[in-house]
Symmetry: D2
Subunit: 345 residues, 4 copies
């Protein structure tokens, strides 16, 4: 009954197999391994972007921080949502990599709106040397509250960015979960929607620890390579990053695992609703925020269920006080564990 995060599950067997296969003899280090050529091709094909520059790193924070740094000057500010991972969960890594740039929160509850984004940008007038200068817009898809931007919403946000000539980054730690939920193509969710660079997540969706950074404009390629090395994120035995991503792309495994995770979440959400819990955000992908009485939390806790209780202590006087929780399903959790979880309601 592990719903604490999708970053704690096992690696998919297909990926483990590719790691084992890759482990023969010597291979050129630092990204010059032949498996990386396969990965580059696979990602370019998937994104319909034959010129894209494709790189691998081992953590999502590295992907975000390095990608953003390529588009941010130290005197600029990055526009992001209040719930964004780069703002809340990266311990100033984006600021560090961008040379002490700022992050500006676009004031909405979760997903940015074009109006709120415009307002945030307008607060930083051009030509004013005293304030932080306008920098890139970073959109998180799926958001950290489990919401998905429709293609229409995405295009509306990037249109604002483009109208100010600002680059757009997509934090796709859960890119696959959004994609299968929307039923669109990778191109539609990225460069066709005005995205310049995407963090294409693997770790949360069945890999061991690998994320791709995909630049649709290859002009940033060499700068990224230098930033990655300087950030100490260039792997010598790089083939083991490549092998993970190769296994992930092979036969669209990435879509399969994402669909599994989303299905698991839907099953759990349906069960929670049926059990009388209140759902707090629309569970678009594989993340659920919901509220139910303390006494049920306590039973679940005693039974070993793992998830975050967002407000208030588990211990408390009122057994019926509703406490909200975050539940994340990964591809591996399965309906059995979910049903077991629901059985405590």
């Amino acid at each position: 009954m592990f719903f604490a995060s999708d970053n704690a599950g096992p690696v998919h067997p297909q990926i483990m197999n590719r790691l084992a296969q890759a482990n023969t003899g010597h291979a050129m280090p630092y990204g010059n391994d032949p498996i990386m050529d396969e990965v580059r091709d696979a990602i370019r094909t998937a994104f319909e972007a034959p010129e894209a520059a494709v790189y691998l790193v081992a953590t999502g924070t590295a992907a975000n921080a390095l990608a953003l740094a390529c588009y941010t000057q130290p005197w600029q500010t990055i526009f992001c949502s209040v719930t964004s991972h780069i703002h809340e969960d990266e311990c100033n890594a984006p600021e560090f990599y961008a040379g002490a740039a700022k992050l500006t929160v676009v004031e909405t509850d979760d997903k940015m709106t074009p109006e709120a984004l415009t307002k945030a940008i307008e607060k930083h007038p051009e030509g004013n040397v005293h304030g932080a200068q306008r920098g890139p817009v970073s959109i998180t898809q799926v958001t950290e509250r489990g919401s998905i931007h429709s293609l229409e919403e995405l295009n509306a946000l990037t249109a604002v960015a483009k109208s100010y000539d600002l680059p757009v980054h997509l934090d796709g730690a859960r890119f696959a979960n959004a994609l299968v939920a929307l039923g669109c193509t990778p191109a539609e969710m990225t460069w066709k929607a005005g995205v310049d660079v995407v963090s294409f997540g693997g770790t949360k969706n069945g890999c061991m620890g690998v994320e791709a950074v995909v630049f649709f404009d290859p002009a940033k390629a060499w700068e990224f390579e230098l930033r990655r090395k300087r950030g100490a994120h260039l792997f010598s035995k790089h083939r083991f990053l490549s092998a993970q991503m190769a296994g992930y792309m092979q036969d669209d495994l990435w879509k399969t695992t994402a669909a599994l995770a989303n299905d698991n979440a839907r099953h759990l959400a349906d069960g929670l609703r049926a059990a009388g819990a209140t759902l707090l955000h629309k569970p678009d992908a594989n993340m659920i925020f919901a509220k139910w009485p303390r006494r049920i939390h306590q039973k679940l806790h005693d039974a070993g269920a793992k998830y975050y209780v967002m407000d208030g202590p588990l211990e408390g006087d009122d057994p019926n006080e509703p406490l909200s929780a975050r539940l994340v399903c990964d591809w591996s959790i399965g309906t059995e564990a979910i049903d077991q979880f629901l059985s405590y309601f």
Copy 2:
């Protein structure tokens, strides 16, 4: 015939097995996995340092840069050798992580001497606000020229550092190779010799991508955790770093693979000497620098041998001009490939 580096070989089966074993169910992320407890214990035991703070990262550059940053203020300079990896091969990562600190080269050919170190430190008088301030001393064991500091040499260097109250970092990317060559204990080569923090390498010696940072003074623990996260080096699926290191420590595999690598190098060095090549540095561990005529380089190259030619182009007029080369042996290379290599002389 792969002698380009020890960072390009396969992962040892014992480590692959531990990765496979670790891949069951969910585990707490970010270093809270139970395998990390095992690793911590194993390293503390190996180093006879029950209080040591032990952390894992995936690259040697990350280990060095993060470890040094914990001991360096941005207005200080790190004293290192002219051949050190931190100075030559990390694309300003140590400077980046230490907040724009400087590196000062101690002027010797390879290994620092106490005299040269003293001179370098004395050039930065205390209380002079205009110059870079004295920072930590970083020693590389094995050096990037394949030399090993004897325990006596190590103690002499740290004595200089301590006399100025400066902390000492040991870049142990090839820690195991030095240790088995010296036949000493990990404690003797680190804290008993005055080392405050060590980058304990795994990647070059049979792991997939893992290095431990070991602080003998646990006071730096929390700062390291924050720096690691901020540097984007904290793994969510951390158990797969832990599993590698657990497999590496188990039954002293790390010493076994290092001894294999050193034996391979000795076999190669003996063969080169017998074949008339000139050895340029004393090959203490698993790295050899040697010189032989261009025409033999050309034959080896045509036969697919991989290694770095240090001076001059492989193509050239004089077939007998001696060109120097770097040859690195890893644990897996084996005498067969070495003898094949030697057969071209």
Copy 3:
């Protein structure tokens, strides 16, 4: 009719005289001039802080950024108000000097409240490695909206900071204006109120370009000296910073000029109210925010009056639409210019 800022007026004659007097022969550079001894004594006496470390820099942004950097780790966040100069008007200088730390806005309109500060701090739970860590609290006195914290308000804010063991910085670019308005002592407005370091402004209040940074705990002294030098803010001909500050402290000139500025603002505020303008913030010190019809703005503009119109444009269809403006009075402006300004209403 110059009301654009108090940073654009002339230097007070008493300060010009001290500069002229200082200009004889040679003086030891870099802060070792004898006038600096006089300044240190004068400021220690004024603040009743015989142990305080006192330094001079030439700009307010340097004072703020260097002072904060001494209390901020790169992985922390500085708590400040939404209108604070460090957040809005320093082009990421605080982030730069603090090694890429973050700024967190405490959500109120202008002055922080203890409740809002507590909420902002609580959003950064201790021991959570993923988020920015809690850093210093920076309070602006006078605020950038012209408001003054009463001693009670100040003590309530620092009590919150202290309850979390966080240091407190006071941005006193208009310290003197606040002090004479409150009628308190420098000690009461700083260390007695829990302030650890203050940017004690001179430039806006009659100096040429000098600010003091006063640390009530002298333990930060050497770090500040190194940070100042590294930031390129250590003057060689330092006596000309000292002379300004010496002239400023002499015979309490700093209180005299501040009182003049506040009186000018009061005269202007009274006149505006009498003329039917709407005052937007309580004008506690020397800054006024007020609203009046566009047509009067236009007349003033044509007559050469200088001040910022906040919600323009100056040109517009409706001559009676009220537009708000910021008016700042310095010590030198005088009632004549103010009455001339008011004559256009």
Copy 4:
């Protein structure tokens, strides 16, 4: 008898007068003062560079660090001489402003040679992601040992830089001293010689605290303005920087004071030679390095003479042991003080 530095003398009366004249009424802040227009014109005219971007800062370290930062990426290294101010005397300010870039010392005693520069650049092969990348070349004219590069030497160095497509910075803290010694034009010593940006010093040559940064390619203008603000080096009461520089440029005062300083040094050097002291570097400008017996140092010291003794303690057993000293003459020192100094020999 003050020979410790040229940064400790008085401000020239012509400059004090301009400061006094500038002190009337209000002036637009932050570089928008009309005197800055005059300064810009004067410098463009002097340098025969009608398009040059001209900015003022208050310290030489700020001029160097900000100018270099505009031409340096964080993963690059700046090539400089072993005696350069940026390497030895700026407490890591260039590294700080350039985002943690490196400095690489070109190995000569003082002035770079084209051969040594080429060698230093070649050690950083293009396309090698592991090492620091090639960055700008910074030349110091006058060097910190008092030597001047002839125009031929300067052109030879910049030719090397240009052959690698590297930008060139000139640290001209003593620009005027070199210029009058060479008898050339500012254009000949800068853009005609391949210099891209120059720190044009004022402080050491009769100003209070002002240096100009002159970009011959105005494309860097806005970036410099943002870097200056972010570095906290943008003055609000900027007219008082402008007034200094205006006074300095007026009627070629800058050449007059430099000629005075150089003449003073020549007088002192002649006297020292006559008195039997050994001159260590060729005293091309206003700085002298010489050696004479300890007992004379002691007499001079007792008589209040101020200068740096470079080697060994003033106190010592052997009264005849020669100790070397650095003596710097500014424009104001005059022959009387020099002759008094020489009378102790």
